[in-house]
């Protein structure tokens, strides 16, 4: 067939390949080397498929009917520009973190971490993330969330030490609660509209009574808000993430909250384009930014500090979404891409610091700049990127948001513009504090004579380089984000892709049924 057929075959791969590889890796748990090869190969193929989708989706959303059942009856996977972009960045990050953890000998604790479980679970996590990004169906989105959350529970409590069980309990309970809320929201959506297909919901929800629609929107926002760690719902994050092994924290910080942000973007633009909760979202964005960063300033441990900056910077993305304009959405998408990369990188580098300095507490570290200058560079570049120092990509994302905020010019957007600048400065303050203490102060305690294995430094360096490359590729990337935002602000594009009017798809009639009805006279 034609070229689109070629692209369409790529769509299920990011979900199917990791799941298949997970099963294989679990079956081969005795053969560590085979496990490594399988995981790396699977995630490399996923990355290749995602890049293919990134190219293919630029021509228009690619829709695949799973099992050949057309959309409202069957489940469909949709790769539009936003999905493809998120998928590409996250599969690159997943691959880098996997290589890093291989370099680390999987948390190098053969005594602590059950190695055979790590690879299958990690692959399942990758499948869940991809499923959430590609899903064109609300219930399938829930399943995607559950896949990745279940994998994340296992990864977070890997080894079952006391501290991890403590942090894990809180994380698991909060995540379970958000899942139940999501489930209730789906039940109500189905009761109100009779469908869970996103495209069909986009057509039917405008006919639903406004009060009911608002309830549905709030419930979905609540469920996704917990996952994305928006301010009043964010308290679980800084406590649970830092206890996990460095690669696990890195991939959680990079991806899990962004899946929540993605779900918010998708539902806000596609299902609820009337923007009635934007003011609420703006206030939440402001609170998330400011309170998150104040938490970071108070921290004395690099991992916890970074967890708080993670919460804080979610506020920027929500700010872009709440402006509900093409430019705001584009800036938000660009910021998500930037933040996935930079936050993951920083956590990986902190893993290196922990290895070299024996601790992540700023009271115990010191003088690393002298004994590990390479490490200093690896930390400094993404740290400045996070704080938004020009010309790095964090700066570009923030400029996009602030420009649009000023262009809209309402008092609330001005407040958010001020808030984001203040947050940016406080991020710089918090990060520089960590930089000064860890790298420049005289070491308060003798640092252990540890070395950083090349297998860990390599992937971390690759991610730092990727973060810098985002700056150089910012032009094409930003215009891609703008086109993605253009798609999002025109929900009809998505609906038309799922229900092309002429082809007979989207009618929900199976050929068997039609024949039978003709025979039986339409029972």
């Amino acid at each position: 067939m034609n070229l689109t057929y070629g692209f369409a075959t790529l769509v299920p791969l990011p979900v199917v390949l990791p799941l298949f590889a997970a099963g294989l890796a679990l079956a081969l748990w005795r053969h560590t080397r085979a496990q490594h090869i399988i995981s790396v190969a699977a995630l490399s193929l996923v990355l290749a498929a995602s890049i293919g989708l990134l190219v293919g989706a630029d021509a228009g959303p690619i829709v695949v009917d799973v099992g050949e059942w057309a959309a409202p009856v069957g489940i469909d996977l949709v790769a539009d520009r936003l999905s493809a972009l998120m998928l590409t960045v996250s599969s690159f990050v997943l691959l880098c973190v996997l290589l890093y953890s291989l370099g680390q000998g999987v948390a190098d604790g053969h005594d602590k971490a059950p190695v055979s479980i790590y690879h299958p679970t990690y692959l399942v996590l990758a499948a869940g993330v991809a499923n959430a990004f590609l899903s064109g169906d609300l219930f399938n989105l829930y399943v995607g969330f559950e896949i990745l959350l279940a994998a994340s529970y296992v990864l977070l409590t890997l080894g079952g030490t006391g501290e991890r069980i403590r942090a894990g309990s809180i994380y698991v309970v909060v995540a379970l609660l958000s899942s139940v809320i999501f489930l209730v929201a789906i039940a109500l959506v189905y009761a109100a509209t009779g469908t869970v297909n996103l495209a069909q919901l986009a057509e039917r929800l405008p006919d639903v009574e406004p009060g009911v629609r608002m309830t549905l929107q709030l419930l979905l926002l609540l469920a996704f808000g917990i996952k994305a760690a928006i301010f009043p719902l964010s308290a679980w994050l800084p406590d649970s993430y830092p206890t996990a092994p460095a690669p696990v924290t890195a991939v959680f910080a990079g991806l899990l909250t962004k899946v929540g942000v993605y779900a918010i973007i998708r539902t806000q633009t596609l299902l609820f384009p009337d923007n009635r909760l934007d003011t609420v979202l703006m206030w939440l964005a402001l609170a998330t930014m400011v309170i998150g960063i104040l938490g970071a300033v108070a921290q004395n441990d690099i991992k916890r500090l970074l967890s708080f900056t993670l919460v804080s910077h979610i506020g920027y993305m929500i700010f872009g979404i709440a402006m509900a304009s093409e430019a705001g959405m584009a800036a938000s998408i660009f910021y998500v891409v930037h933040h996935i990369t930079v936050q993951t990188t920083l956590f990986l580098v902190v893993g290196l610091i922990e290895r070299r300095g024996g601790s992540t507490s700023l009271d115990k570290l010191g003088g690393l700049a002298k004994i590990a200058p390479g490490l200093a560079i690896l930390f400094f570049v993404p740290a400045m990127n996070l704080a938004g120092i020009p010309p790095l990509s964090g700066f570009l994302g923030k400029v996009g948001l602030i420009q649009e905020g000023v262009a809209q010019g309402t008092p609330l957007t001005w407040a958010l513009v001020v808030g984001s600048v203040v947050t940016s400065l406080l991020t710089l303050y918090a990060i520089v504090k960590a930089w000064n203490k860890a790298f420049w102060q005289t070491a308060p305690v003798e640092l252990p004579a540890a070395s950083t294995p090349r297998g860990m430094v390599g992937p971390a360096t690759a991610l730092v380089a990727f973060g810098v490359a985002l700056t150089f590729a910012a032009g094409p990337l930003y215009s891609y984000a703008e086109r993605a935002a253009g798609n999002l602000m025109e929900p009809q594009t998505y609906v038309d892709a799922v229900f092309p009017g002429d082809s007979g798809r989207g009618q929900g009639v199976s050929s068997d049924l039609v024949e039978e009805e003709q025979e039986g006279g339409g029972s």
């Binding site: 799973v66 099992g67 059942w69 409202p72 009856v73 069957g74 489940i75 219930f139 399938n140 399943v143 559950e146 279940a150 529970y153 296992v154 409590t157 079952g160 006391g162 069980i165 403590r166 942090a167 894990g168 309990s169 809180i170 698991v172 309970v173 379970l176 609660l177 899942s179 139940v180 489930l183 209730v184 789906i186 039940a187 109500l188 189905y190 009761a191 509209t193 009779g194 469908t195 869970v196 069909q200 057509e203 039917r204 006919d207 308290a235 800084p238 406590d239 916890r304 229900f499 989207g506 009618q507 929900g508 009639v509 199976s510 068997d512 049924l513 039978e516 029972s523």
Partner: protein, 220 residues
């Protein structure tokens, strides 16, 4: 996941089978009046579940989660409309079928809940192995704040700031005023104030020593 959806759904479910544009007809043609028993059951499940979720013990939290999960599953059944026959062509007339899609979704949700229940149970067991209990502990920040408070507490404790009663009136009944001649000063004025710890409000019989008020306060 739901391959089940694809298998069952096309065998005619009234909602999804309809032309997407024709929403009005869909909503008219289905009897969406929920059964009262179901609604009550959902309410009870949610109320009990929320109560248990607020407990400290992980096992109770888990039971709360299961109850809420089951409540959500029942909500799906309500969302599917009126109950009916098996949704198989040839078995039940089309207009008397129940909605198979919600049942597929509920099945998926039940499977997920089952898996997560097993995981949380394992976690509760591990917690019991490590600590001898399965209580969800305070997070680090909370503990740090509590420690700070404990460390700062002595700085504010001296005889001036010690409280002997719950309200100002209570404290006034315990206070001894030197300028007051007959010794029962404020007490006489505020005789109607509640007395604490069985101490009679009139301090005139025994002139209170410096620590009398404190002793009364500690006695309660």
């Amino acid at each position: 996941m739901s391959p089940t959806n694809h298998l069952l759904a096309p065998l005619l479910l009234p909602t999804a089978d309809v032309d997407p544009a024709d929403v009005a007809r869909t909503t008219d043609s289905i009897d969406m009046t929920p059964s009262l028993v179901m609604v009550l059951a959902i309410g009870v499940l949610f109320a009990a579940g929320v109560y248990l979720l607020l407990e400290r013990s992980l096992t109770r939290v888990l039971i709360g989660f299961i109850l809420i999960g089951n409540g959500a599953n029942l909500m799906f059944l309500v969302a599917g409309g009126r109950a009916g026959g098996a949704p198989l062509i040839g078995t039940t007339p089309t207009d008397q079928m129940s909605d198979p899609l919600v049942q597929a979704m509920v099945l998926t949700a039940i499977v997920i809940t089952l898996g997560l229940t097993a995981f949380v149970l394992a976690m509760a067991y591990r917690s019991w192995q490590l600590h001898g209990h399965d209580e969800v502990q305070d997070d680090l920040e909370d503990r740090r704040v509590a420690r700070h408070a404990a460390r700062n507490a002595p700085a504010f404790e001296d005889t001036d700031t010690e409280e002997s009663g719950e309200t100002l009136d209570d404290e006034a009944t315990q206070a001894y005023d030197e300028t007051d001649g007959d010794g029962d000063g404020a007490t006489g004025l505020r005789g109607e104030g509640p007395s604490r710890g069985g101490t009679p409000p009139s301090g005139s019989a025994t002139p209170p020593s410096g620590s009398a008020g404190t002793a009364g306060g500690e006695g309660r």
